[in-house]
């Protein structure tokens, strides 16, 4: 009766999967926003963000090899730190992914309008239409398309490489002066905003049980894909900065905000109208794939929480007709559409990053809890290198980024925590009695403590 998976993903497949999950709004939409915060030093922000994501990716990969049941961020944190933190992480990760998807859809709408002669004011309407379409697709159910995914990744990487190579001839060095125009604080802030550009690396964790020779291929897959993407992002963002007038990037978007189509802006100068079309097509391809994967993956959070009695049971119900978890997808879709309709674009990106940083920080703590608890059931086949220093760096780095994001994102993150606690107290606590690995540590502490005064 087993339906265990086969280990058939080699290093190359692991790297492609990871890169496929990373490429999206981070590079096609965010560079102009980052430029506004950090000046040309936004290039450094991309590297800094990558360094802070890395520990969480390693931590998550280790936990994935210890918990073969298909889980994810929510599951690891819940099993490590109990249902209270599980609730916070589940809601946080859900929001983060839905925000990210809605941001990708707005970006997608912006690139689409470059191809069709319509008013820029329609970005939101187009994004809403696309969101509805993707939600319907997910409700009806889609077939596995691993091949399509790897074709998209290859096409996008080739297109980005071509972009960089060609831009080498057209970049104006003066545009990099002054490099750190907004101070080093600006770099940290920008890093926090472009954090989502690397979040996809943790997808390696969700296929960890299928990776052959995990002790070798998991860390290498993570490091190589992160390395390649850091290099690619650096070069592409460098090209975007070098090709465009800074002012047109930071104010060229809808209602005078940062441009949402920075890649295409550069392409116009590089290859003319054909370049804009080509870049837009690649961006549309990558962003559609990202938004679709985002809706699919984020609907798993309410579903998983429902199965653990942390959310109403009907969210885990699979539709008889479509064989999809209709309620979880519908709830996710409603949030997605609501966000696009009512939240300003830039705030979407900021909040997505803030929630992601929060969850990634907790992921590092979860690993420490598992390692320290010594629970017998925790037997990872891959052990993250550099423990516990890497995790501490990840946690401190994440929290440091979070504090640099400004009031609104911090309030958002705090809101998730407060909301999560409230939901847990009202709904989850009467229905659960799990304690997680943290419970094991606390119980042991109690036993070890000498019985004092009374």
């Amino acid at each position: 009766m087993s339906d265990d998976l086969e280990r058939d993903l080699g290093l190359y497949a692991t790297v492609t999967i990871s890169m496929g999950a990373m490429i999206g709004s981070g590079i096609f939409v965010l560079p102009a926003l980052g430029l506004k915060k950090a000046g040309p030093a936004v290039i450094l922000a991309y590297i800094l963000a990558g360094l802070v994501v890395l520990p969480a990716a390693l931590s998550k990969a280790e936990m994935a090899t210890a918990m073969p049941e298909s889980g994810g961020t929510y599951l690891y944190i819940d099993r490590a730190m109990g249902p209270l933190f599980g609730t916070i992480a589940g809601i946080g990760a859900w929001f983060s992914l839905v925000f990210k998807s809605s941001f990708a859809l707005v970006g997608l709408g912006a690139y689409l309008l470059l191809l069709v002669p319509l008013s820029g004011g329609l970005v939101k309407a187009v994004a809403l239409g696309l969101a509805a379409l993707i939600v319907v697709l997910n409700v009806v159910g889609t077939e596995q398309s691993g091949k399509a995914q790897s074709i998209i990744v290859t096409a996008v990487v080739l297109a980005l490489a071509a972009y960089v190579i060609n831009s080498g001839f057209a970049v104006e060095p003066t545009r990099f002066q002054p490099f750190v125009s907004k101070g080093s604080g600006g770099i940290v802030t920008a890093a926090a905003f472009v954090f989502v550009s690397y979040a996809g690396v943790t997808k390696i964790a969700s296929v960890a049980e299928e990776v052959e020779d995990p002790g070798r291929n998991l860390p290498r897959g993570i490091l190589i894909s992160m390395g390649v993407m850091m290099l690619l992002y650096t070069l592409v963002v460098g090209a975007v900065v070098g090709l465009n007038d800074a002012k047109s990037l930071t104010t060229g978007g809808p209602t005078g905000g940062p441009s949402l189509t920075p890649m295409a802006d550069g392409a116009a100068g590089l290859f003319g109208g054909v370049g804009v079309v080509a870049v837009s097509l690649v961006a549309i391809l990558a962003l559609t794939s990202m938004a679709n994967a985002g809706v699919l993956a984020s609907s798993r959070f309410p579903l998983a929480m429902s199965r653990d009695s942390l959310a109403p049971g009907r969210l885990a119900r699979v539709s008889e007709r479509f064989k999809t978890p209709l309620n979880a997808i519908a709830l996710t879709g409603a949030l997605l559409i609501g966000l696009i309709a009512f939240v300003p674009v830039v705030e979407l990106a900021k909040l997505a990053s803030a929630f992601q940083i929060l969850v990634f920080s907790i992921i590092n703590v979860a690993l420490v809890v598992f390692r320290e608890s010594g629970v017998d059931s925790y037997q990872p086949s891959f052990r993250a290198p550099g423990y516990p220093f890497v995790q501490v760096v990840g946690l401190v780095g994440g929290l440091a980024l979070l504090t640099q994001m400004g009031t609104f994102p911090i309030l958002g993150a705090a809101g998730i925590i407060v909301g999560g606690v409230a939901w847990y107290l009202l709904y989850g606590r009467p229905r659960t009695d799990r304690t997680g690995a943290l419970g094991a540590i606390l119980a042991r502490r109690r036993d070890e403590e000498p019985v004092s005064s009374d």
Partner: protein
């Protein structure tokens, strides 16, 4: 002298097509593994679907397995997932099945069609055909499409194959031969095979071409309405996984 065979009979749940009763009768002395694969879209985690649909799926699988004598069904497995072909492959390896039944409709089994490609799986295919023909009085046509690269002339191959079946106790006048020249192997197999009731063919080693275009048996069995038995080498775990690296069943990022 016969090698013992074990047959994997996969069903695509829910609402699977039943195996035609004549096929089930044919197998009444051969060990059968029944596999129910409950197909899911990528939106649905298999564990959730299992919780909800397992009872119904199990009942359906039981009904589907009924035409087979209880004695011949050695194992019944139920898998919820997305990668159907990969699951069939994996279960075949785990259960040591060397023949896989692909579904189709047929009213009576009177004429068998056996395309032979070359040495690969030669013994195993003929041993299986021999076993089928001992419990049934159908006629069989051995077929070969000659290609330039053949190490062995088609005439000789078919003569050798006939001898094997005769040795296995099949009356020589039940055995016919047909040799085609040139042409696209998989297309001529489908065209000629259409006139028959049941096809038995060998699975080939996956070549680079197979990985891109799909293996010949897959093309043949998807183009024909007849049921078919695909005979393969019983492989060890691990060997097979390299052959199917193109299809991976991934959990989504969350």
């Amino acid at each position: 002298m016969t090698t013992s065979h074990k047959i994997l009979v996969p069903f695509e749940l829910p609402d699977a097509d039943p195996v035609p009763p004549v096929i089930a009768e044919l197998l009444d002395s051969i060990e059968v593994v029944v596999l129910g694969h409950y197909g899911l879209p990528e939106q649905t985690p298999p564990s959730t679907a299992r919780d909800q649909f397992e009872t119904g799926a199990r009942a359906e699988l039981e009904t589907l397995a009924r035409p087979f004598e209880d004695t011949t069904v050695s194992t019944t497995r139920l898998v919820f997932g997305r990668a159907r072909d990969k699951t069939i492959d994996r279960v075949a390896v785990e259960e040591g099945c060397d023949v896989i039944l692909t579904p189709g409709r047929v009213g009576a089994v009177e004429r068998l069609f056996v395309p032979l490609r070359g040495e690969a799986n030669f013994d195993r295919i003929l041993s299986f055909v021999g076993e089928l023909l001992t419990t049934n009085d159908a006629s069989v046509t051995l077929f070969h499409a000659d290609v330039e690269s053949d190490r062995r002339p088609g005439e000789e191959l078919l003569a050798d194959a006939t001898d094997r079946l005769v040795e296995a106790g099949v009356d020589a006048d039940r055995i016919g031969r047909e040799l085609a020249e040139g042409a696209d192997a998989s297309q001529s197999i489908v065209d000629i095979g259409a006139a028959y009731d049941l096809m038995i063919l060998g699975e080939t080693e996956p070549s680079l071409r197979d990985r891109i275009l799909g293996a010949v048996p897959a093309q043949v069995t998807s183009d024909t309405d007849d049921p078919a038995f695909v005979v393969r080498e019983p492989r060890r775990r691990g060997v097979v996984s390299q052959a199917i690296c193109a299809t991976t069943d991934l959990e989504e990022h969350r």
